[in-house]
């Protein structure tokens, strides 16, 4: 099953989730009604008088309870869903996480960020912000968000202190698998919907507190039997926790199998089973295991790497398979014994175990240098003028990164000038890096004009940093430019709105300075201007959902025409267009190519916007059509490959780097 199938299936699974939820709500309504009816009967039998026919069945009371419960559950769920739709940060902060600064100097945090960055570059997603759960000594992690493009990763302090780099990489790979398999969005929806059921318990708890100072009078005659609120509160509290029980039921039905899948995807990703198995073993060897202390850990329990809750009867239906079973699926000869876990000294621990590397490169003999991996990079760069890829192969790699991509990413990062590796992870450095990258290489006039603009109109500190960084940026190879942008993006999360607006204006000006838009500039436009900044300023506009390409014919034409027209001669362009169109609409519709004048960049851009709302199976077709169009002339340049990746990213499909 590929990425697109996973995403589509996760979408459909929501249907089951809703069905279970409705059953749970019905169960709760009946139970609450039972409680209220019992209380009233009790009150009546003590001599109080309450309206309504006597006997257990009271239609008016039932309606009251039903409507009231539905309203409360509905409001609770809607509130939470709205809160979570803004992205994964809400979950991270609710669990007590703090953002890890990209410019951090703490070694365990740096290692964590490097691992996450490598994974993101390999998978073709933007580098996600990372949160650290400082107060958790257990080993655990989660990924939250609605799309791969707004995902957030959270890791506990226990994880970074007890796991070696390879083991941490296994955990992060597992989380990335959740992101790529479509689990994340489903999990977040689960959390939102179930919150409505929890609200009842919260109300019950609140009511219990109101009566805490009053004694329940049970002896005076003629009076109503004291304050019934705390009793009702207690009952609601208990009922609410029945809601939690239903919640566990639903969660485990939906998410348990996903854990095995994520484990196996992670192994595929890193091809180093010892990493993730090692992490699981360390959880077993730690006292606190993977249990989280945070008061609200319950809500996100289905999203963690390991079981986040302690064993109790409510957890008979655990959200995670047992540790030993998970380990055995990866290492069948595990003997079931957990050695006690001790913290890792990152300064002395080997960053790359030579045995690991040898395993991954498939060599029997010992490997001497940790830089052996860079051979992959060199092979990818040399003769990278032309890539030879079949269109289907590129699209099949979407959401399915492999070890070679991780190696490539790691070599790419190491190949950057030292200054750029470490020093540009703060907001100012990130801004300066992007400005420096946008300075025109080809035309000195334009470059001068851009520099003048920055000197006079940009923040003076940004200008000073840009000047300082320019010599280093000049050393960056062409295919590392967009990845470098991707690497510095997380730092932009720390800018204030004012600074973001100024940055946006500067970048827009710099791109337009030469009246042309290069591929790199287009990439920056989409990654930074169209996606990140609106999201940070809270101004995203979701694309309308498209279930049938026939309603967006002009967008399809515009997209393919723009691609085809870069083929060279008009005949080649027409042929390329035809092949692409054939992929989009199997037979049937005959599309005609647009002229170069019509299919300009703006058309292309708008077409992408429109098509980003399509369903996953359609996205797959669109990508295949684009790839077919690009490859129609028999060869694909590095630039064309990058363009395909930009398109893929705009459609929210993570495509790994295209290698030989």
């Amino acid at each position: 099953m590929d990425f697109f199938a996973h995403q589509e299936r996760a979408r459909r699974k929501t249907g089951w989730l809703v069905a279970y939820f409705v059953l749970a709500v019905l169960g709760i309504i009946v139970t609450i009604y039972g409680v209220f009816a019992a209380v009233i009967l009790y009150g009546e039998s003590r001599g109080g008088s309450l309206a309504g026919p006597s006997g257990f069945w009271n239609p008016e009371l039932f309606s009251l309870v039903a409507v009231g419960t539905l309203v409360i559950i509905g409001l609770g769920s809607m509130y939470k869903i709205a809160l979570l739709s803004r992205g994964g940060e809400a979950v991270a902060t609710a669990l007590g996480g703090r953002p890890v600064l990209p410019s951090t100097r703490a070694l365990p945090e740096k290692i964590l960020l490097n691992v996450v960055e490598e994974m993101a570059l390999a998978a073709g997603t933007p580098v996600p912000p990372v949160y650290l759960l400082d107060h958790e000594a257990a080993i655990n992690a989660f990924a939250a968000g609605t799309t791969p493009q707004n995902a957030v990763i959270g890791v506990t302090r226990g994880a970074i202190e007890n796991l070696k780099r390879d083991e941490l990489q296994g955990v992060i790979a597992h989380e990335f698998s959740h992101i790529l398999n479509g689990d994340m969005r489903l999990n977040l929806r689960l959390m939102g919907i179930l919150h409505g059921i929890l609200v009842i318990a919260l109300i019950g708890y609140f009511l219990m507190r109101t009566g805490s100072r009053r004694v329940y009078l049970s002896s005076s005659s003629g009076k109503k039997g004291g304050n019934p609120l705390p009793l009702i509160g207690l009952c609601l509290y208990i009922i609410g926790y029945i809601g939690v029980f239903f919640g566990h039921l639903i969660k485990s039905a939906v998410s348990r199998q996903r854990e095995f899948l994520a484990d196996s995807s992670a192994v595929q990703f890193t091809r180093y089973p010892d990493g993730i198995a090692g992490a699981l073993k360390k959880i077993g060897g730690l006292d606190s295991g993977s249990r989280l202390q945070a008061a609200r850990a319950e809500e996100a329990s289905h999203m963690y790497f390991g079981n986040g809750l302690s064993a109790s009867f409510l957890n008979l239906l655990a959200t995670h398979p047992p540790l030993s079973e998970r380990i055995r699926r990866i290492q069948p000869d595990f003997n079931g014994v957990f050695a006690p876990t001790t913290p890792v000294d990152h300064l002395t621990a080997e960053v790359i175990d030579p045995r690991t590397l040898a395993q991954r490169l498939g060599e029997g003999a010992g490997v001497s240098s940790a830089f052996a991996g860079s051979g992959v990079h060199e092979a990818a760069v040399e003769g990278a003028e032309r890539l030879a890829f079949a269109p289907d192969a590129a699209v099949m790699q979407v959401g399915a990164p492999q070890t070679k991509h991780v190696d490539y990413a790691s070599a790419l990062v190491r190949g950057l000038p030292a200054e750029l590796r470490g020093d540009v992870r703060d907001p100012l450095g990130a801004i300066a890096t992007i400005y420096a990258l946008l300075l025109d290489d080809d035309e000195p006039d334009v470059r001068e004009a851009q520099r003048d603009y920055l000197r006079n109109r940009a923040d003076p500190r940004a200008w000073a940093e840009t000047e300082r960084i320019v010599p280093f940026v000049a050393q960056v190879q062409a295919e590392a430019k967009l990845p470098l942008v991707s690497m510095v993006l997380p730092a932009l999360h720390e800018l204030s709105s004012r600074q973001l607006a100024a940055f946006r204006d500067d970048v827009t000006w710099l791109i337009k300075a030469d009246r042309k838009v290069s591929l790199f500039e287009y990439g920056v436009h989409r990654l930074v201007l169209k996606r990140l900044i609106p999201r940070l300023l809270g101004k995203t506009v979701a694309a309308a959902r498209v279930t049938d390409l026939h309603s967006n014919i002009s967008a399809c034409r515009g997209l393919l025409s723009a691609l085809a027209n870069s083929a060279g001669s008009p005949e080649k362009a027409t042929e390329a267009f035809r092949q692409g169109a054939a992929r989009l609409f199997k037979g049937g519709q005959e599309l005609t190519i647009m002229s170069s004048g019509e299919a300009d960049l703006r058309t292309f851009d708008r077409a992408l916007d429109e098509l980003s709302g399509t369903t996953p199976p359609l996205k797959k077709r669109i990508l295949e059509a684009c790839a077919e169009c690009i490859g129609a002339d028999g060869h694909v340049t590095v630039e064309e490959g990058e363009l395909l990746r930009v398109i893929s990213d705009a459609l929210e499909c993570p495509m790994p780097p295209l290698l030989q």
């Binding site: 600064l101 703060d426 100012l428 720390e494 800018l495 204030s496 004012r498």
Partner: protein, 206 residues
């Protein structure tokens, strides 16, 4: 829903309406509260960014002083002043990091940073008079790192102050001011440093 609703008497409907209104009101209040929490977290995180860069600068300064000592043999007073100012700022920074935005901590930090900036200006100004020191590659690279770090601190301060202003505004306007009172959201202080923008060379008179 219809048959359910039809079965309700007036008093029941009133009860439901009151309950719904109450719940909506509570949720709204929670929303306002959460917003204040989010804004407060934002400026606390923004301070962490300043803190990282300040620590880098506090580490750089002793290196600069050591390098300069080899060339500027008779400026002991200046060196001591710089190190003293640096230490004061360092500890003020630690206090502020424990409680970002707290008025007293921020004021102490602002004062200490201003003093440090002044003594650094004097120090760098003095180095202008020692050409061999100026040409020393180590000194040049340290100075460049210092300038870059100062820029980063200033930029991060701007983001912090923006965040503090947003928070203060939210807690002063209605309905934030009510919730702020109950929830213990105190006012946050800006981080202002009156540093001289230009480093003027200090001429030593003989």
């Amino acid at each position: 829903m219809q048959p359910l609703v039809a079965a309700l008497s007036n008093s029941a409907i009133t009860l439901i309406v009151i309950a719904v209104v109450a719940v909506l009101f509570v949720m709204y209040a929670i929303g306002v509260f959460n917003n204040l929490v989010a804004l407060r977290n934002r400026f606390k995180n923004a301070f962490a960014q300043i803190d990282v860069q300040m620590r880098r600068r506090y580490d750089l300064i002793p290196n600069l002083v050591e390098t300069a000592k080899g060339y500027m043999k008779h400026e002991k007073d200046t060196f001591e002043a710089v190190i003293k100012a640096r230490n004061a700022a360092f500890s003020a920074g630690q206090t502020a990091a424990a409680n970002p935005g707290d008025p007293r901590a921020m004021q102490t930090l602002s004062t200490a940073e201003t003093a440090l900036a002044a003594s650094m200006t004097k120090f760098i100004g003095l180095t202008e008079n020692y050409p061999e020191l100026k040409a020393n590659t180590n000194m040049l690279s340290l100075q460049e790192e210092l300038t870059s770090t100062e820029n980063k601190i200033a930029f991060a301060r701007q983001a912090f102050n923006d965040a503090v202003t947003s928070y203060n505004t939210a807690r002063e306007v209605f309905p934030g001011n009510i919730v702020a009172g109950f929830g213990g959201f105190g006012p946050a202080e800006l981080f202002e440093v009156s540093a001289p923008e230009q480093r003027e060379a200090v001429k030593v008179q003989f």
